[in-house]
C-alpha cells in the first residue's frame, strides 16, 4: 500500500528532513511512525499527502507513483487517502457538519447519503452534539476529532494521521487509537505519526522509528500479536452511547 524507496527530502532552505528512507506498509496493515520532535515525521506524512514532493527516490501509494504524479491526478489520489493533520486544517467559518461533509460533497454524494455518513462519522468521535457549531468554538481535542471524522467519512482505503492524539488526554487518546484500530480491522491501511512512545508501545503495533530524518529500525520489527487485550477492536466505537446503534464502520 505504501512503499518508500531511497526517499530523501531536502527543504528549500537546504535542511535535509529525510534521508535514505526505505520501508513498506502492506495493505491492511496498521503502523506507527515515532520519533522526537523534528525527526521528520510530519515531513513523511506531507510527502504522502502530496503537500511536499520528495527530492529523491520513489514513493508508491495505492498504485500511484507519487514522485511522478501529474497535477490532474492529485485530486483523485487524495480522495482515496484520509489525512488527519497536526494542525487540523478545518474551516472555521463552516459548521462541524459542513467540515466533515466536505469530502462527500466533493465526491458528489447524494444529500441523504451525506447526512447519514456525516452523522455516523461524528457519532464515532462523540461529536454528534456539536454538529451545528463552528470548529473555532470547540476545544483543541474536539477539533482534532472533527479532523478524524472528516478523514474517515469517505471510508478511504488509506488513513494517515499526524499526532492524532497530540491534544487529547491519555484516556481519550487510547479511545481514539482504538477507533483507528477499528478502521484497520475493517480493512483500511493505517499509518499514524506519534511522538508518544508510551502510548504506541501500549498498542503493540509495528513501529517505524525516525531519528534525525533516518529510519532506525529499517526492516521492521513487528509485534505479531495484534492489539493487546485492552485495546482489542471488539469495541466498535469511542462513543459509549452510540456503541450499540452504530456497529463500527462496516463498509
Amino acid at each position: 500500500m505504501i512503499e518508500f524507496q531511497q526517499v530523501r527530502k531536502r527543504y528549500a532552505n537546504g535542511h535535509e528532513a529525510l534521508a535514505n528512507i526505505n520501508f513498506t506498509v502492506e495493505r491492511g496493515e496498521m503502523a506507527f511512525v515515532t520519533g522526537r520532535s523534528g525527526a521528520g515525521k510530519s515531513t513523511m506524512l506531507k510527502l504522502l499527502a502530496l503537500i511536499e514532493r520528495p527530492s529523491d527516490g520513489e514513493i508508491i501509494v495505492n498504485g500511484h507513483q507519487l514522485n511522478k504524479i501529474t497535477p490532474r491526478q492529485i485530486p483523485s489520489y487524495r480522495r482515496g487517502v484520509g489525512v488527519i493533520f497536526q494542525d487540523h486544517k478545518l474551516l472555521n467559518d463552516r459548521t462541524v457538519f459542513d467540515n466533515v461533509a466536505l469530502p462527500l460533497v466533493i465526491a458528489g454524494a447524494p444529500h441523504r447519503e451525506i447526512n447519514r455518513r456525516v452523522q455516523a462519522a461524528l457519532s464515532k468521535v462523540d461529536l454528534l452534539s456539536k454538529l451545528r457549531q463552528n470548529p473555532g468554538s470547540l476545544s483543541t481535542g474536539e477539533q482534532q476529532r472533527v479532523g478524524i471524522a472528516r478523514a474517515v467519512v469517505n471510508k478511504p482505503p488509506l488513513i494517515l494521521a499526524d499526532e492524532p492524539t497530540g491534544n487529547l488526554d491519555p484516556e481519550l487518546s487510547l479511545e481514539v487509537m482504538r477507533l483507528f484500530a477499528n478502521f484497520n480491522h475493517i480493512g483500511a491501511t493505517v499509518l499514524i505519526v506519534s511522538h508518544d512512545q508510551l502510548l504506541v508501545e501500549q498498542l503493540g503495533q509495528r513501529r517505524l522509528m525516525l531519528h534525525e530524518g533516518r529510519l532506525k529500525n529499517a526492516p521492521m520489527v513487528r509485534t505479531t500479536g495484534g492489539l493487546p487485550p485492552g485495546v482489542a477492536p471488539a469495541m466498535p466505537s469511542v462513543n459509549p452511547r452510540s456503541a450499540g446503534r452504530n456497529p463500527g464502520a462496516k463498509r
Partner: protein, 343 residues
C-alpha cells in the same frame, strides 16, 4: 414594423460578436471541466442548490455586491443604449414610403444576354422585388431621355454605356439601411462595376448607421473588457479571502473544477445583476427621452415614436452580462488557483 424587425436582427448580429468572445470562455471551461469531473457525479439538483447558495453568499455582503453590479450595469447600459438608438435610426429610415431603387452598372465586357440572365438570377433573391436588364442600347436611350448630354453623346461614334440592371428592392422585409448593405454586397459580384442606391439620402443614412454600428461595436468591446476586469478583480479578491478554504478543499481531493464552480456562479450573478440593471437604466433613459422625441417628431408632422428594447436585445443583454461575468471569474480563478497550495 417589419423593417424594424430586420434592423434589430442586424444589431443583434453585430452585438453577438462580443458575446461570442464571452461564451467561448464559458464553453472552454465546460470542455476542460468535464474530464476532471468524470467519475464525480454532480446532479443538476445539487448544482442549482449551489447556485442559490452562492447567491446567498453575495447578499451577505450587500454593499460590495451592489457596487459591482452598479459598475457592470452602467458599463453594459451604454452599448445597449447605443444599439437601441441605432435600431431607432433604422426605423426612422424605414419611414420613407415607396420602393427603394438601385442601379447596377455592369462591367464593359458583360454582354446584353449575360445581363438578362443575371437579372433573372437576382430577381430570385428575397430582397429584390423586380430586376430589369437594360441592354447597352436601351441604357443609351434612357440616358438620352434623362439628360441634356444628347448632343455630346451624338459626337461619340461608339456607345460608352455598359449594360445596366435596375433593381426594385423590397423594403418590407428589410430596413432601407439593410437594403443599402445588400446593394454594397452586390458591388462585389464580378459582373458589377458600380452598384448604387438611387436615393442619395438613403446612401448617407446607410453610411452614418454603419459608422455608428462600428463605433458601437468598439464601445461594446471596450466596455466588455472593462466588465470582465471588474468582475475578475472582485472575484480575485474573494479568492484571496478564501485561500484557506481553497487549500483545505484541495487537500481533501477537490478538483479545480469543483473549486472554480462557486466563483463562476458569483461571476454569473454579478453579470446577470449588471445586465438587469443595464436594461432598467436604458428603459429610464427611453422614458426620459420619449417626450422630447415625440415633440420633435410632431414639429416635423411625423407620428414617429421612440422604440424600446426588443426581446432579442433584452435577452442579449442578460446573456452578455452573464457571459462576461463568468469569463471574468474564470480568468481570475485560472490565474490564482495554481498558486494556492496546501502547506
Amino acid at each position: 414594423m417589419a423593417a424594424k424587425k430586420g434592423a434589430v436582427k442586424k444589431a443583434a448580429v453585430k452585438k453577438s460578436a462580443v458575446k461570442r468572445g464571452a461564451s467561448r470562455g464559458v464553453s472552454a471551461q465546460k470542455a476542460s471541466a468535464s474530464p476532471v469531473l468524470a467519475g464525480v457525479k454532480v446532479d443538476s439538483m445539487r448544482r442549482a442548490q449551489m447556485l442559490m447558495y452562492s447567491l446567498g453568499r453575495l447578499t451577505a455582503q450587500p454593499f460590495t455586491t451592489a457596487l459591482i453590479i452598479a459598475v457592470v450595469g452602467v458599463a453594459l447600459a451604454l452599448p445597449v443604449a447605443f444599439s437601441v438608438l441605432l435600431a431607432n435610426l433604422d426605423e426612422a429610415g424605414a419611414r420613407s414610403d415607396g420602393r427603394v431603387q438601385a442601379s447596377l452598372f455592369l462591367e464593359e465586357r458583360i454582354s446584353d444576354e449575360r445581363a438578362t440572365t443575371l437579372a433573372v438570377q437576382l430577381e430570385k433573391k428575397p430582397e429584390v422585388l423586380a430586376a430589369r436588364a437594360l441592354s447597352r442600347e436601351q441604357s443609351l436611350t434612357e440616358f438620352r431621355e434623362l439628360s441634356d448630354f444628347d448632343a455630346a453623346l451624338a459626337l461619340l461614334d461608339e456607345n460608352p454605356l455598359p449594360a445596366t440592371i435596375i433593381l426594385s428592392l423590397n423594403d418590407q422585409i428589410q430596413s432601407p439601411t439593410a437594403l443599402a448593405g445588400f446593394v454594397h454586397e452586390l458591388q462585389r459580384l464580378p459582373e458589377v462595376e458600380v452598384a448604387q442606391l438611387d436615393e442619395l439620402w438613403l446612401q448617407r443614412l446607410f453610411a452614418i448607421v454603419s459608422l455608428l454600428k462600428r463605433a458601437a461595436l468598439l464601445i461594446a468591446i471596450m466596455l466588455g473588457v472593462a466588465v470582465t476586469i471588474v468582475v475578475g478583480t472582485t472575484i480575485g479578491l474573494e479568492i484571496q479571502n478564501r485561500r484557506d478554504e481553497i487549500a483545505v478543499t484541495k487537500l481533501v481531493g477537490g478538483t479545480d473544477a469543483f473549486i472554480r464552480r462557486p466563483f463562476l456562479y458569483s461571476g454569473l450573478w454579478y453579470g446577470l445583476g449588471g445586465g438587469l440593471l443595464a436594461i432598467v437604466l436604458v428603459f429610464i433613459a427611453l422614458f426620459a427621452l420619449g417626450g422630447p422625441v415625440n415633440q420633435l417628431a410632431s414639429l416635423y408632422g411625423s407620428d414617429y415614436r421612440l422604440g424600446g428594447l426588443s426581446l432579442l436585445q433584452f435577452l442579449g443583454t442578460l446573456l452578455a452580462g452573464a457571459g462576461l461575468g463568468m469569463l471574468g471569474s474564470w480568468l481570475a480563478v485560472s490565474r490564482q488557483l495554481k498558486d494556492i497550495q496546501p502547506d
